[in-house]
């Protein structure tokens, strides 16, 4: 899929033997990524559907209560961090297309940095939830009554809240997994860009990876309101 290691600018060297030309190769790679992403839509879609149905059929306000345990402002800031990494990724593709090697290196590094920042934030959030006993399991909710006004949440509402947090950790976990995979690929591309004229020679791989990165961003754009903001 990726071009061979030769450093010539000869198009012929960039095209795998079974393709006719670079145009065909780029088109195929982009199409492949788009198809993969439409597959991913259904992957996340499956769990979103489950979430929607459980929420719809739930008979108490455990989901809303669960949602209000999350900090929407922290989530919002993290959303902004991820959007920023999307911007720098888009700019990296632009730099590759216009053959600005230095800028390409800069923007890829920034994307990597913002992506890592997002994960670090997310990690702190998870740790906080662990501390206040919001991780599903036998001890779930044991520290709920300590804060707040001392009112006791009925047991079955706690159960529904736990269901909410099962979804929360599954969805954010799967999203984080996609981030980790993305960051790994990004790191490889960055190293290649620092070492060679990878990217400016053929912007194809950068563009294809960019699609993936933006998609992970789009998933978060839905995760954020679905988990953090539905608290009424």
């Amino acid at each position: 899929m990726s071009p061979s290691a030769t450093h010539t600018h000869d198009e012929h060297a960039l095209v795998a033997h079974h393709f006719e030309n670079l145009e065909q190769q780029r088109g195929a790679n982009l199409l492949g990524m788009w198809l993969f992403l439409s597959s991913e839509v259904l992957f996340f879609g499956g769990i979103f559907t489950a979430y929607a149905m459980m929420r719809f059929s739930s008979t108490n306000n455990g989901f809303a209560l669960g949602s209000s345990q999350l900090n929407a402002v922290v989530g919002g800031i993290n959303t902004a961090v991820l959007l920023t990494s999307s911007l720098t990724m888009a700019l990296a593709v632009w730099a590759a297309q216009t053959k600005h090697r230095r800028l390409l290196q800069l923007f890829l590094s920034l994307t990597l940095a913002f992506g890592l920042a997002f994960l670090v934030f997310k990690g702190f959030e998870w740790y906080h939830e662990y501390e206040v006993s919001l991780v599903p399991g036998p001890t779930f909710g044991s520290k709920l009554a300590e804060k707040g006004d001392g009112t006791v949440i009925p047991a079955e509402t706690v159960k529904t809240m736990q269901m909410f947090f099962v979804f929360y950790f599954s969805i954010t976990g799967l999203h984080a997994l996609h981030m980790v995979v993305g960051l790994a690929v990004l790191a490889v591309q960055l190293v290649l860009c620092l070492q060679s004229d990878f990217g400016v020679r053929d912007y194809g791989p950068i563009e294809v990876f960019g699609l993936y990165w933006h998609f992970v961003d789009v998933v978060w754009i839905y995760v954020f309101p679905l988990l953090y903001l539905m608290r009424a």
Binding site: M1, A16, H17, H18, F19, E20, Q24, G27, A28, L31, G32, L35, F36, S38, S39, E40, L42, F43, F44, G45, G46, I47, T49, A50, M53, M54, S57, S58, P136, G137, E156, K159, T160, Q162, M163, V166, F167, S170, L174
Partner: protein, 550 residues
């Protein structure tokens, strides 16, 4: 239009003395196979792996049928029996039927049929085989570590909470095999979109390619839902938290929705490529253009899309809302139409043709007959009132075996015989092939037809012992299964024999149209001596003007 891709006349066998470099002899050694990027070699890798899985799954089936010869559970303990039918289902579905036609015949033929040098992503193609094999390892580990007894459907709360067998590894095997399936579908779809030879427009594509395209759609859009569902079940089993367990406030019916959203279309992953194979066989052996090309092509896509709208017909008695049942029943009924279109068009193609009775055509006849029965009996299960009586019984077992074994495997074997000369460069022994085809047809019907009656009588599926009144039909079924087993072993033997000893085949032993027949047998590593240019629609055998019946 420098080259006409179609060779209207059969070629005489080429002399053996000309030694060409083909994909088989271009390099030797295990390494050259395990690291190959050639779609044809990867197809062979798949062929070997799925054949092994087929026989493993077949052994499980044989054990199941042996146990059912008597009403008492005397051969096996109940939990051993449960593991047998579960493993039979898991192995046959995820490791044989789903990859069967796409990953072997499809892998070999799609690039050849569209005049490409390879699939769009050769590395991904090899990777999908390795992913498949990793899944296979999990499957084999499951068997060795004691098996799994949840049924291939993994229904909750049985599988995450109550089963004490190797549910995790079995589920992982299905999950990983799913990824392999997604990658294959993705590869095909990009290839069909981007790699067609000059002049090969969409309506000049062979119908096999159309059916592969429709199949890929299901693989790409359906499989991820299975993946995420399995992950949720795995989380539920490992962490004892979850969304399908009523004790935790969850809903087991939700699992069925998510599961069947993939697993119903999965049936079409198996049968659509089979339909594609049959379209090729029927035209070649009738020497006649296919009747209603565009109707067959679009009916494939229609089946792929409709297949996603009907999963609820597995749930009419699951406590799903009866109103949802109403909608699902209605939509399920509609699948009858594209299926009818295909059957009638194949039949009409024979009209005034020049019909040969070669082995692949025997399989095609068998397919059309058995698929007709399998498809029509689907009406009982799509219809709400009869489904209440028949679901969860042997009627369902008979119905889907008519589709998957009578349909998909007949077509797979037919296709394998048809393209065997192209794949290996050798013919197969015609007498034994015909003999096996007839044995399989007879054995199949004897095995599965009695099960329709059993189901109507009310015998539930997945019973290792049963009331004595069901014995007569069960004995018939077991007898049929032993005939069927013989029928499957014969081709395995003569195919292996043929690779060395059988008659050498020329480029085009059947006198077929299609780009794959214009290259040598076996094809060279890059498939074609030079890129073909296509100027004609497919299946043009006669130079006469085509007529249209009003």
């Amino acid at each position: 239009m420098t080259t006409v891709a179609v060779e209207p006349r059969p070629q005489p066998f080429e002399p053996r003395s000309i030694k060409r470099a083909d994909y088989l002899n271009i390099s030797y050694g295990v390494r050259s196979w395990l690291l190959t990027l050639d779609h044809k070699r990867i197809a062979i890798l798949y062929l070997i792996s799925i054949s092994i899985f087929f026989f493993v799954g077949g052994v499980f089936a044989a054990v199941v049928r042996l146990e059912l010869a008597t009403p008492k559970g005397d051969l096996l303990q109940s939990d051993t029996y449960n593991k047998m039918f579960t493993l039979h289902g898991v192995v046959m579905l995820f490791f044989f039927l789903i990859p069967a036609i796409p990953a072997t015949l499809g892998n070999f033929l799609v690039p050849l049929m569209i005049g490409a040098k390879d699939l769009a992503f050769p590395r991904l193609n090899l990777m999908s085989w390795y992913v498949f094999m990793i899944a296979g390892m999990f499957g084999i580990y499951t068997m060795l570590a004691g098996g799994v007894d949840t049924g291939w459907t993994f229904y909750t709360p049985l599988s995450p909470k109550y089963a004490n067998s190797q549910v995790m590894t079995a589920a992982l095997a299905a999950l990983i095999a799913g990824f392999s399936s997604i990658l294959t579908g993705l590869n095909f779809m990009v290839t069909i979109h981007k790699m067609r030879a000059p002049g090969l427009t969409w309506f000049r594509l062979p119908l096999f390619v159309w059916s592969q395209y429709a199949t890929s759609l299901i693989q790409i859009l359906g499989t991820p839902v299975l993946a995420v569902t399995i992950l949720l079940v795995a989380a539920e089993r490992m962490l004892h938290i979850g969304i399908f367990d009523p004790a935790l406030g969850g809903d087991p019916v939700l699992f069925q929705h998510l599961f069947w959203f993939y697993s119903h279309p999965a049936v079409y992953i198996m049968i659509l490529p089979a339909m594609g194979v049959i379209s090729e066989l029927v035209t070649t052996f009738a020497k006649k253009v296919i009747f209603g090309y565009s109707f067959i092509a679009f009916s494939s896509v229609a089946i792929a899309v409709l297949g996603f709208l009907v999963w609820g017909h597995h749930m009419f008695v699951s406590s799903q809302s009866p109103y949802a049942g109403l909608i699902f029943s209605f939509l399920s009924m509609l699948v009858a139409i594209p299926s009818a279109i295909k059957v009638f068009n194949w039949t009409a193609t024979l009209w005034r043709g020049s019909v040969s009775w070669d082995t692949p055509m025997l399989y095609a006849f068998g397919f059309i007959g058995l698929f007709t029965i399998g498809g029509l009996t689907g009406l009982f299960l799509a219809c709400l009132a009869t489904d209440v009586h028949l679901t969860h019984t042997y009627f369902v077992v008979a119905h889907f075996h008519y589709i998957m074994v009578g349909g998909a495997i007949m077509a797979y074997l037919g296709g394998l015989h048809y393209w065997w000369p192209k794949i290996t460069g050798r013919m197969y022994p015609e007498f034994w092939a015909k003999f096996a085809a007839i044995i399989i047809f007879v054995g199949f019907n004897l095995t599965f037809f009695p099960q329709f009656v059993l189901g109507y009588q009310g015998m539930p599926r997945r019973y290792h012992e049963y009331p004595a009144e069901f014995q007569v039909l069960n004995v018939m079924s077991t007898a049929g299964a032993s005939i069927l087993a013989v029928g499957y072993i014969i081709p395995a033997v003569y195919f292996i024999w043929s690779m060395k000893y059988a008659k050498v085949a020329g480029r085009n032993p059947w006198g077929a149209t299609g780009l794959e027949w214009s290259t040598t047998s076996p094809p060279p590593a890059d498939n074609f001596e030079k890129t073909p240019i296509v100027s004609l629609p497919p299946y043009i055998y006669s130079k006469e003007e085509a007529t249209v019946v009003p």
